[in-house]
Amino acid sequence: MGGPAGAIIAAVVGAILAVGAAFGIVSSQTATPAPVDKPFIVYGDS
């Protein structure tokens, strides 16, 4: 695999990782479960 191919692979892999991580960061803000209502404190949501 020569120079141009390597550069293209590097750019594509880098872009995929960066864009995907951005999606993960956004999801971490939106997908966090809502707090459980008091007064019953539950161990978790199964």
């Binding site: 590097a10 404190i41 161990y43």
Partner: protein
């Protein structure tokens, strides 16, 4: 790269990743999140050894914390354990993967920055994570045992990692068959001694369970509630394949829901499949055994998620003694996670074998960074979800007050619920810290309330005294005679907590001390003496602890001898 840097690259990379995850947790204070509970100073009590309470679920973890947290403050112990866990997991996976430095660093990333570690960290299962961290080291020791015939390193690591029953089983089931199985250089006598040592080191929990008067039958509802769940794309199977799928939606990362995370997990699994044959040729018995365990664990995790309501699956959990250890099915993907982490870098090396050196290096670096891109919100204490806090001073005052009382009797924790939400802890759900905070045994509601499909179900507790107290509260009867008859003199009411269910009738139990958010009441009359002791079990526990030291010394000698004989392998 200078040789000194090269030599320490794996350790440095593991430390860097650990710091990225745990740095905020190193601030002063205690991380209190779900099952993760540390207190400033924990007193050794019978229940820490599995005597007099429910089933020994956190044995000997709590006993060891109690022994260490006298000289070492609880918050220091918590930080040391968490950091050591992360660093040992990364370096262990890297060493087990072997090969060039970048391959080792990629394996460290995949194992350390994993959905499995994230889920268990957020659940607070640090005892299990300790075994997770020692698992690659135990397999390395087993590999060495096959070659040298000395099984002490394997036995020591299996013992040192057995803080909780599942941790002990994970290590023993992975390492012992490799160390003493067919083809091992160990003599028969040595194999028997190794297995006996591991049995002894695990005796604190299994012997306590055998001697416990509590029913050995696990609540069949446990599998339905604690089975694996889809926490991302690809359903339950896709989740557990990626090392996720933990049952509790409050212990998952938001990034797990993205298709990107699912896609990257598939890429890693495909790479692992490509590298499997090469690894099998080099480390045949251990790869084969880890694959068997990985597939069985993965299969059970999947079954626990999709067939948790079926009778045959519930019978496996509630029928045989100890079957309850299977109910949290996702735990058992630990072998799969390690197998994929150590095999995928080999697969990438095979795939890129004809590429230029620079591209091969780039792809190896990309694989090392891939877990961070897939789960970015594990960084910085899961984006701030894990934060240390200080206990209010009233908690220490209460401990001193209870310790200073001369009359006999145990304590009950009210309101009658297992979990708490404190304003001073950011209203995070946490297991009641009171049993670990006080110097006397605390009876607490050990029934676990969980939301399943919008309804709240309770998974049965097993402490007989808790059952009696709970029934009295539910019936609305005055609590004083019931408590006195069960050996309980003190009532701690956490007045800053919501009141689930009926309010306990505390007539005849006057307040003797009060602080912000806490109230101590005392039964003035006689209280039945409850003598929780088991000398045989204590003897076994002491024997296990004492024997761990000489086995550790023997293991260390074995490591030094192996280094002298094969220095190149040990510096790789």
């Amino acid at each position: 790269m200078p040789s000194a840097w090269k030599r320490h690259a794996l350790l440095g990379w593991s430390c860097l990743l650990s710091a990225l995850i745990l740095a905020p947790l190193l601030a002063p204070g205690y991380v209190l999140h779900l099952d993760m509970v540390f207190v400033p100073q924990q007193t050794l009590l019978p229940w820490n050894l599995g005597i007099g309470g429910g089933l020994p679920r956190s044995v000997p973890q709590d006993a060891l914390v109690a022994l260490v947290s006298g000289p070492l403050p609880g918050q220091i112990l918590q930080k040391v354990v968490l950091v050591a866990t992360a660093v040992l997991a990364g370096t262990g996976a890297g060493r087990l993967a072997g090969g060039p430095r970048l391959q080792q660093m990629a394996a460290a990333s995949l194992y350390l920055w994993s959905a499995y570690l994230a889920g268990r960290l957020l659940l607070g299962h640090w005892g299990l994570l300790w075994a997770y961290a020692l698992l690659p080291w135990a397999i390395l020791a087993a590999r060495q045992a096959r070659r040298t015939g000395s099984v002490w390193g394997t036995a020591f690591l299996c013992g040192a990692g057995a803080l909780v029953p599942t941790g002990g089983l994970v290590l023993a089931s992975a390492a012992i068959p490799i160390a003493v199985g067919p083809g091992s250089a160990a003599r028969v006598r040595s194999r028997i001694a190794g297995v006996a040592a591991v049995l002894l080191f695990n005796a604190p929990w299994w012997f306590a369970a055998l001697r416990s008067p509590v029913s050995e039958v696990s609540d069949p509802l446990g599998l339905e509630v604690f089975g694996a769940r889809a926490d991302g794309a690809g359903g339950v199977l896709g989740s557990v394949l990626a090392g996720g799928g933990v049952w509790n939606a409050q212990a998952t990362l938001g990034s797990r829901t993205t298709w990107f995370a699912f896609f990257l997990a598939l890429v890693v699994i495909v790479l692992a499949a490509m590298g499997w044959a090469a690894r099998y040729q080099r480390y045949r018995p251990e790869t084969l055994w880890l694959t068997v365990l990985g597939l069985v664990g993965l299969g059970w995790a999947w079954i626990s998620g999709v067939a948790g309501q079926q009778g045959w699956a519930q019978a496996l959990v509630s029928g045989p003694p100890g079957g309850g250890l299977l109910r949290d099915g996702q735990k058992w993907t630990v072998f799969w996670v390690l197998l994929v982490a150590v095999t995928a870098p080999t697969g990438l090396a095979w795939l890129s074998r004809r590429a230029e050196e620079s591209l091969r290096t780039f792809l190896a670096v990309a694989l090392a960074l891939l877990p961070l891109a897939a789960l970015p919100d594990l960084a910085w204490g899961a984006f701030g979800r894990l934060q240390p806090v200080a206990y209010p001073s009233a908690w220490q005052d209460l401990r001193a007050t209870v310790a200073g009382r001369e009359r006999d009797g145990d304590v009950v924790s009210l309101p009658w619920a297992a979990f708490r939400r404190y304003d001073w802890n950011g209203s995070q759900v946490v297991l009641d810290p009171l049993p670990r905070q006080l110097t006397r045994t605390v009876v607490w509601n050990d029934r676990l309330p969980v939301t399943v499909e919008g309804r709240i179900v309770e998974v049965g507790g097993d402490d007989p005294r808790a059952r009696v107290v709970g029934e009295a509260i539910d019936s609305g009867r005055p609590l004083a005679p019931v408590l006195a008859d069960t050996g309980i003199r003190w009532v701690v009411v956490q007045t800053d907590q919501p009141q689930p269910g009926p309010v306990a009738d505390l007539t005849g139990i006057p307040v003797v001390w009060e602080g912000p958010g806490l109230q101590l009441r005392e039964i003035p009359g006689p209280v039945r003496a409850v003598n929780a002791e088991d000398r045989v079990l204590v003897f076994i526990d002491v024997l296990a602890l004492v024997c761990l030291l000489p086995v550790g010394i023997l293991a260390w000698r074995g490591v030094r001898r192996a280094r002298r004989e094969r220095p190149s392998e040990n510096t790789a």
